[in-house]
């Protein structure tokens, strides 16, 4: 095997070229020496600790003056072995692992993973409609949150702190609803194989309805702040461009692909959870640049709010009902309700298993500790995450744990585009390119 197995070999292959390693203080000395030698090439290491890298991303830049001639991304700093860990936990426990991948869009992974398990079990059609509506509701709230973080931190990285604070205030409103329904702000473990963890709390529909205008207000404010801002336009327009053929070659999906004019959205192309019955648009642009991606993310937030409103209507019309499959061999034994302290509990269920039925106690114990068997086979489930196509490959050996769970995080794939976006541009625009890719390193490294 002659393949070079080092990702971070020396930039300068020619051994005769002098190489200086600089850590900060002696810049002027080295700069003077480099000027004397007539060497203009500078290799700079950006990260892994850098506020604008959405986690811990290392970017190796080769510079000529202010121009980036080569950009390479180095990842792996946030690898936590989630996929390996999932092979040692039950299918249900896996939800609490995959939710921690892309922690800005937690429930996206949960949804893809659970849809995959349900396909393996062959119970896709048995999921109660109420559970599907709640899944759509949570997926869209997650999408809004993720896009607001993308736009907000994108602004912050250019020095516009107000863009970030405005976006985060609006995101907080979505978190209030998510917390009231699932008990947690992020890493929710809300979507479970067979349904969702619990139904709407008391006054849930009113709470969702009250949230919508508040988020809209935040989005409007953000739009006013950004859309005519000459500095922001100067920084984002025609920067980090990538056209359709480049996107197809690199398998880019999500807002970056839609900024090249292709309205590819799995919610439309390959609907799941009943997305085909909701009324919403897929915003696109043909500008191919960082600006259009930001605008698309803003527009998608408005579209998601439309879906959220439709979810609230449906939930109100449906009233109370089950949010788990009926099959007692799969369904989690108790439906918890969130108390004032944010903890879930079910006094009725505890009374039943502790005081009334020995069989119910055994069943509870078996299902919770052992889990349920999933017939042997493999599936691939893809959904439209906020950042692009999120794919899950699941293999079952017929047991209570996944034989293999692999997540195709859109950020992992899309980050490959950083070189194309950054090379030939200014160094300051690398930050813009990273922000417009909008990956989260937790998802990239898993």
């Amino acid at each position: 095997m002659s393949t070079d197995t080092k990702a971070t070999g020396p930039f300068v292959e020619d051994p005769d070229v002098p190489e200086y390693t600089v850590y900060g203080s002696d810049w002027s000395e080295v700069a003077a020496e480099a000027a004397r030698l007539g060497q203009q090439r500078i290799v700079m290491n950006m990260g892994p600790q850098h506020p604008s890298t959405h986690g811990v991303l290392r970017v190796m830049l080769e510079l000529e003056g202010e121009i980036v001639t080569e950009a390479r991304a180095g990842i792996g700093y946030l690898h936590t072995g989630i996929e390996k860990n999932m092979e040692f936990r039950t299918w249900t426990q896996g939800v609490t692992f995959c939710t921690r991948m892309d922690y800005v869009a937690s429930m996206t992974q949960e949804l893809a993973y659970c849809l995959g398990i349900e396909k393996l079990l062959g119970i896709t059609d048995d999921i109660p409609e109420r559970a599907s509506v709640l899944r759509v509701l949570m997926a869209e709230l997650t999408r809004i949150g993720s896009h607001l973080v993308a736009v907000g931190t994108g602004g912050n990285e250019l020095g516009a702190t107000t863009i970030m604070t405005t976006a985060f205030v609006a995101r907080e409103e979505t978190f209030r609803v998510i917390e009231a329904i699932s008990g947690l702000r992020t890493n929710n473990a809300y979507v479970r194989p067979g349904g969702v963890a619990q139904g709407l709390p008391e006054g849930g529909v009113e709470m969702i309805r009250a949230m919508i205008p508040k988020v809209k207000e935040g989005l409007d404010e953000l739009a006013l702040l950004q859309m005519e801002n000459p500095i922001l336009k100067g920084r984002l327009k025609n920067v980090a461009t990538m056209n359709l053929s480049a996107c197809m070659a690199l398998g880019i999906t999500g807002p970056i692909l839609r900024s090249t004019g292709l309205p590819y959205d799995l919610r439309k192309a390959e609907p799941y959870c009943g997305y085909e019955t909701y009324d919403f648009q897929v915003p696109t642009s043909t500008d191919n640049d960082a600006w259009s991606r930001m605008v698309i993310r803003m527009e998608e937030c408005y579209e998601s709010l439309k879906i959220v409103a439709q979810c609230a209507d449906r939930l109100e019309k449906m009233g109370d009902g089950p949010v788990m499959v009926e099959d007692k061999k799969i369904a989690w034994p108790a439906q918890l309700s969130i108390g004032g302290d944010g903890q879930g509990n079910s006094p009725k269920h505890i009374k039943h298993i502790m005081g009334e039925s020995m069989e119910a106690l055994i069943h509870h114990f078996k299902l919770v500790t052992e889990g349920f068997d999933v017939p042997a086979g493999q599936v691939y489930q893809a959904i439209e995450g906020p950042k692009g196509l999120l794919g899950v490959h699941l293999v079952s050996d017929g047991g209570t744990k996944p034989w293999r769970a692999h997540f195709r995080d859109p950020g992992f794939n899309n980050l490959q585009a950083l070189s194309i976006m950054a090379q030939g541009g200014q160094m300051a625009d690398v930050v813009v390119a990273i922000a417009s890719i909008d990956m989260v390193l937790g998802g990239v490294d898993r």
């Binding site: 095997m1 393949t3 070079d4 197995t5 080092k6 990702a7 971070t8 990842i75 792996g76 690898h79 072995g81 996929e83 390996k84 860990n85 092979e87 040692f88 936990r89 396909k119 393996l120 062959g122 197809m248 070659a249 690199l250 398998g251 880019i252 999906t253 292709l262 590819y264 192309a269 390959e270 500790t369 052992e370 889990g371 042997a376 086979g377 493999q378 599936v379 691939y380 893809a382 196509l389 794919g391 490959h393 293999v395 050996d397 017929g398 047991g399 209570t400 744990k401 034989w403 293999r404 692999h406 195709r408 992992f412 794939n413 980050l415 490959q416 490294d445 898993r446």
Partner: protein, 235 residues
Amino acid sequence: MSDDKNLDAVTGPASPEGRAPLTLINVREGMFGAKGDTSGYDGLVQQVQMPGASERPYGEWFDGVVDVLSELLGDDADEAIEYVVVDRGELTLYIAREHLLAVAQHLRDDQDLRFEMCLGVSGVHYPADTGRELHAVYPMQSVTHNRRLRLEVAVPDGDSHIPSITSIYPMNNWHERETWDFFGIIFDGHPSLARIEMPDDWVGHPQRKDYPLGGIPVEYKGAEIPSPDERRQYR
């Protein structure tokens, strides 16, 4: 999992010719995965297999795609497509590694196939599947026809070489690096097959089944709780 010493006696002939075209996922012993339980099922041996080859008609658009691909491959078709599985509404083509590049080229370029995107490559390790221990699974996405199929290439552990498809699907660059990193599948012709998630000097390929999960025992109220992969558990 890898300590099945008498596996051949249990699973019968392991030669590729003598066996049905199935993927042996696992051979389970005992009832609960742990040795020495008191259930009386300690000697139980179960083979777990992937769904087997499907017969025509495959249904949906599957027949058409397989037909077009076979026609484009010509005389190589029988050799290239080992077998076809339709399971849970998904089409899987098991491809011989020698023909992977040709298959990928046709899948991307032919107007009736047009799978523009490869959604990466996911490695899977089946230690019990003698001679085909390492599998590379390629989900292919057609945006034009809105279809998805799966290519699966199986290679033996001792000779884990698969041609890189980055020349046809550049987006697979990082995905192949990841699968090399985690499973040790060598993608020949990859421009720079370096580790991507683990450090450069890491030894071993962590997502193989014989690679331990790791972790340390934890003491809790006087009792010692073993690390997750050492715990007695249902399997």
